[in-house]
Amino acid sequence: MHGDDWNEAAEIAANMGAGVSRREFLQLAGAGLFIFFATDRMAAFQEPSRLPGRPSYPTDFNVYLRIGGDGRVTCFVGKVELGQGSKTALAQLVADELDVSFDAVDMVMGDTDLCPSDMGTFGSLTIRQFGPVLRGAAAETRAVLLQMSADYLKLPSVEHLRVKDGVVTCVQDERKSVSYARLVEGKRIERHLEKVPVKPVSAFTVIGKATRRKDALEKVTGKARYAADMTPPGTLHARILRPPAHGATLKEIDTAIAEKVPGVRVIRDGEMIAVLHEQPDIADRALGPIRARFEPPQPSEDEQTIFDHLLKAAPPLQIVDERGSLAEGDKLATHLVEETYLNSYVAHAAMETHSAVAAIEGGKLTVWASTQTPFPVRQQLAQAVGFTPENVRVITPYVGGGFGGKSASRQAVEAARLAKITGKPVQVVWDRAEEFFYDTFRPAAVVKIRAGLDAAGKLLLWDYRVYCAGEREAQPFYDIPHQRTQSSGGWSGNPPGLHPFAVGPWRAPSVNTNTFARESHIDILASKLGRDPLAFRLSHLSDPRMRRVLLAASEKFGWKSAPAPSGRGVGLACAIYSGTYVATVAEVAVNKSTGNVDVKRSSAPRIRA
């Protein structure tokens, strides 16, 4: 079942050219010292131009913004709130560009009937990529409203008009004043303007200021609603029979005992066998005694053999970046250090499992889903139940963590199919075992690095090959004259059978594996030379920002160039992800009898560049 487990939503997103996943902690983020630099991507040192081409968002600002007669501004976006704070950040963008108070902005997110289409909330793109679209829309709205104000106030131009909290006032005559609410009264604005500039950073009054999150009150009072909190009247809760292994086929089934439980319905639809009841726990109890015999496939790989398999089965390496000449580097190197780094499959394990509620009424399907991709999911749902997409609405309430794992939303399709068959609203909430079974894991990966040093300890050769993790941030940011970076495969678009189960984007996809391998190898090189890992890094770093980040982190930590006492260790690592520079310093202790590693010191200063 591997190939088709990789939910179509993510494939659609990938086909649209998206780099997939939201910004999250890098893999290094156990505990330690963090320094974050937020930045304009264009200014980022060596920032590869890998932002996917901006998808075609609608140009009519009315699609994003509605100003009510009460002065409240409703902002409609296809992005969803996964915890990353986008509900707050996007409202800040609107408040600043439109000159309304932050508190006057209401966000409607991820509702396919109300919001402009969006390929999904992943790839750390909400602010970087969609932010400028929304700001542009708000800036144009403000400019149009100024013109409308001038007309309304019978002024020759907008020159002397100022706006505060949604009220436009003529600075030469303060009696001449009108509110946005009065001008618009909830109606569509028909006037449009071309090329309205957004505000310069220096004019921001809301963006960049600490503010209470839009979702805060609901989240600390238990009022925040997630997909599983939706129970339209008559909702049935479904538990679905799962195979014991990926690719197992059902040979025999006996549902007699389950069917005898009062109020239980057993549904078989193709390969899906579901038990439904008005209470989820009773449906779950009825699922237990179902006797099913599956024939599992011969396991082809295990945790020992998987890496050799990946090396053999991965698609051909592609050159990501090449500088200088490897042959020249080989000639100059006096010392070669070669290592292989292995990364295993890792689950997303969001606290909220994949959940969905589907209800069909009057020929229209409505699905509340915990998903990162409501619009692609709408397409999938339409296909699954045979409705036109216009008759399918996906509503995304708060999502209890995604980390890339809710780009795929199989549970929504399951709920919709069952709602169609039963004629009742159906809720599907995966249990923890299902979550681990159907997750789209971070792909296991292999990285091979061959590095060369000259007699003076200068790193001059870097031959880097990454298999199955993906190429993001694979090329080093260190100064290495002769280097080549090659990559094969990634978290999507893999040949069938490469991985034994579904894989997908996971927390800074590719970057977590590439950072682990690169920084480990740098440490090994420093160690072979008997050099301090910080000094060794700095001696190969001309990127001024990364130097500052590393130095700030090490100073805050009190980095000392000395061997740690036995059983204790200090370490550092640095990385760039989508223009964000991060350095981590940590002190850990190893319990020699148990092998457990304990993080002894952690702090997290945040510094603005």
Partner: protein, 158 residues
């Protein structure tokens, strides 16, 4: 066994006729509509479903309804009184001690249980007490900061 069970829920007496083997989590969420208490694992491993029973934090996914007969149950919905947030909730607000918010109710009520016992816990005690409440977004440091602040502001409040 289906029978009548009485208990106090968020300060109000309640009587239910239910199968008394059912876990409190499901009864709270789907019979009583108190969806602030979350399902995370169903195996007492994640703390999302934590509620207070007679001043002790329990995981409602493994607590059968029969075990709470005659007892006092407090959920996240019962923590704020007369429109006023509890100091722990205020502190979580001020510290942005959440991201996705899914673990938050369990974190808050478990912190409440701790502060009932120890008015001024140390950072280490807070961390130990919340060992079984998982957060995947990375809000841990802020959560501990918030609880420390709440402990300070609860002087004499209890």
């Amino acid at each position: 066994m289906r029978r009548s069970i009485s208990f106090t829920l968020n300060g109000k007496p309640i009587q239910l006729t239910v199968d008394d083997d059912r876990m409190l989590l499901w009864v709270l969420r789907y019979d009583l509509g108190l969806t602030g208490t979350k399902f995370g694992c169903g195996a007492a491993l994640c703390g999302s479903c934590t509620v207070i029973v007679n001043d002790e934090a329990v995981q409602s996914c493994i607590t059968a309804v029969k075990e709470i007969a005659g007892k006092h149950v407090l959920t996240i919905e019962g923590l704020s009184r007369e429109g006023h947030l509890h100091p722990i909730q205020e502190a979580f607000l001020n510290h942005h001690a959440f991201q996705c918010g899914y673990c938050t109710p369990g974190m808050i009520v478990n912190a409440y249980a701790l502060l009932l016992k120890r008015a001024h816990p140390t950072r280490e005690e807070i961390m130990r007490h919340l060992e079984d409440n998982l957060c995947r977004c990375g809000s841990h440091t802020r959560i501990v900061d918030a609880i420390l602040e709440a402990a300070g502001s609860m002087k004499g409040v209890a």
